[in-house]
């Protein structure tokens, strides 16, 4: 048993009067894919923003534990350190690539911290030391590996902003992976993809989990993707957790159906009974 990587403990986030996340607790297992689902506005992205340090939670705690036992209190870590030290990478619901840089450059930027060290905080790089040149080549190689895996190797030298939507989504995942994360948070990676593309995405995520041992936290609307790949599903509505379990358990939970249909529990139960 490899234990939990992430434990969210009674997390709350308020914006003025709005309670976007209310006393939410859940856990994510190491080397598993945990899906966070719920209707629009349920507070999923806000949870991500708290985990990755873009918002400071109003209250609650977020614990991250690495395999070697080192632990981080993410709610107290400064934003860039969450990626740098706690090794949490993320993608964004509205893709945030560096549009004026090539696909390859995007992946090079992702390796910033490693390369910074290799370039002797720029000085070794400035004089063109051979150790730096080797490190740079290794970085290019890593980027190449990921470009191949997401099927973008032929577009390596094209501006990211020029890629079609589906390619941009995959490039963003590759970029996150280039930081060599322990936990990868994906915010609606299948949004806007066609059936073939989301099938490929499912495969990619499964291979990331199995080959790299990266744990994945996934927000997704596309139920086919969620059902196919997730090991554990947490369902949110109005900022609170309303259900959790295996994909199968969650799918059959009337509370979940009610949340998605906007009806109350009794109605949903009635509907399901008459429907089946």
């Amino acid at each position: 048993m490899s234990g939990q990587i992430l434990a969210v403990d009674r997390l709350s986030m308020r914006f003025g009067g709005i309670v976007a996340v209310n006393e939410l607790s859940f856990e994510a297992e190491r080397r598993k894919i945990t899906a966070l689902i719920g209707p629009n506005g349920a507070g999923k992205t806000t949870v991500f923003n708290c985990i990755t340090g873009f918002y400071k939670p109003t209250s609650g705690a977020i614990h991250l534990t690495h395999e070697d036992g080192s632990a981080f209190a993410l709610e107290r870590l400064n934003d860039f350190r969450i990626s740098k030290q706690a090794k949490v990478a993320r993608t964004f619901q509205n893709i945030r690539l560096f549009p004026g840089m090539t696909a390859l450059e995007n992946l090079m930027v992702a390796q910033h911290n490693a390369l910074m060290r290799a370039s002797g905080l720029t000085f070794l790089g400035l004089i063109g030391a051979s150790s730096w040149r080797q490190a740079e080549q290794r970085a290019i190689d890593l980027a190449t590996v990921w470009l191949k895996r997401v099927g973008l190797i032929d577009r390596a030298d094209d501006a990211a902003g020029n890629l079609p939507y589906g390619d941009q989504r995959r490039l963003e995942i590759a970029r996150a992976m280039c930081t060599e994360p322990a936990l990868l948070c994906l915010d609606e990676p299948a949004a806007g993809l066609n059936a073939r593309e989301s099938g490929a995405l499912s495969e990619l995520l499964l291979s990331i989990r199995s080959e790299h041992g990266t744990s994945i936290l996934l927000i997704e609307h596309d139920m086919s993707v969620v059902m196919e790949i997730s090991d554990h599903v947490v369902v949110m509505d109005y900022g609170v957790k309303i259900a959790e379990g295996t994909p199968q358990q969650v799918r059959d939970d009337p509370k979940v159906i009610a949340a998605y249909l906007g009806a109350d529990e009794q109605e949903a139960r009635a509907m399901m009974e008459t429907g089946s």
């Binding site: 914006f15 992205t45 873009f54 945030r96």
Partner: protein, 305 residues
């Protein structure tokens, strides 16, 4: 204590002038999101036009001070407003949907054009006029022989500012044009879809801003008794500082920032050194922004990611 009270009065008067200019910056920023660098020079043009119209009125043999002032004010506001309109039309509208720096550079260019136009057209020397509004009141006779004075011109400056501010607030909050302006501020595309004439609304914003700057220019002329072609730059950056200090985009903020800058400058001159008054104003700006990154009344910008 008396000395303090006197500086307070002086500072508030100066602050009113800065506030009037700052409103123009804040409005334009709110609606098109750019620093209108030429705005300080629009203020200068307003001062010049007030000065020239004063000379003309005097040479026509007019002596009734209220009439002179009213005509000066109207002429200056009208012509300066046209300057504001023209500047937007020539230098900013073609760059409306362009990159952020292009309109800024264009605005800096416009500022050079306006100040050098005034220099070429009216000469580089300072233009002094005789005091138009004289007299004042002694508010408090100090024991040491220092009296707290409130001159009539100071009253005129503050009252004019108040009245125009009230008028203007009414315009923005109650009229259709004001509503259109606020709509454009929120979302131009949406406003256009809902039938707001965006071009016209933006022009109108520049016109109002310029008209208020003209008032400030005239008040400056009356208060200091002179104008020169270079005054737009310093007054402009201080007024912009005021707008930022108050929280750019916020109208009460602009007035508040203007008063703050006026007070800082006056008190610093009075108690420390005149030479470093601008240094004090700019340093306080930097310090305030470090602690309140969006100014005193600015809405904190929560970034949605």
């Amino acid at each position: 204590m008396d000395y303090f009270a006197q500086q307070l009065i002086n500072g508030l008067v100066l602050g009113s002038i800065y506030g009037l200019i700052a409103i123009g910056y804040t409005m334009v920023y709110g609606i098109v999101g750019m620093i209108n660098f030429a705005h300080g020079d629009i203020f200068m043009i307003g001062g010049f036009i007030a000065m020239i119209s004063f000379l003309v009125l005097i040479s026509f043999g007019l002596t009734a001070v209220p009439v002179i002032l009213l005509v000066m004010l109207l002429v200056s506001m009208a012509i300066t407003a046209l300057y504001g309109w023209t500047v937007e039309r020539i230098a900013y509208r073609p760059l409306r949907h362009s990159f952020r720096l292009a309109p800024m550079l264009s605005a800096i260019g416009m500022s050079f054009i306006l100040s050098n136009f005034a220099q070429v057209a009216q000469g580089a020397r300072v233009k002094p006029i005789p005091p138009i509004i004289t007299g004042g009141h002694t508010l408090h006779e100090g024991a040491t022989g220092f009296n707290v004075q409130l001159s009539n011109i100071q009253i005129v400056v503050v009252v004019t500012t108040m009245v125009l501010l009230a008028l203007f607030t009414w315009l923005v909050s109650r009229t259709r044009l004001g509503r259109d302006m606020r709509a454009c501020e929120q979302d131009q595309t949406m406003a256009a879809l809902l039938g707001v004439d965006v071009d016209r609304t933006i022009s109108f914003t520049f016109v109002i801003g310029a008209a208020l700057a003209a008032v400030a220019g005239m008040m400056y002329l009356l208060y200091y008794g002179l104008v020169d072609f270079f005054m737009g730059f310093v007054a402009g950056i201080k007024a912009f500082t005021a707008a930022v200090l108050g929280g750019i985009g916020s109208l009460p903020g602009a007035m508040l920032g203007g008063l703050a800058i006026g007070l800082i400058e006056t008190f610093w001159s009075a108690y420390f050194s005149v030479e470093y008054k601008d240094v004090a104003a700019f340093s306080i700006l930097i310090v305030v922004l470090i602690f309140l990154p969006t100014g005193l009344l600015g809405r904190p910008e929560v970034e949605k990611v």
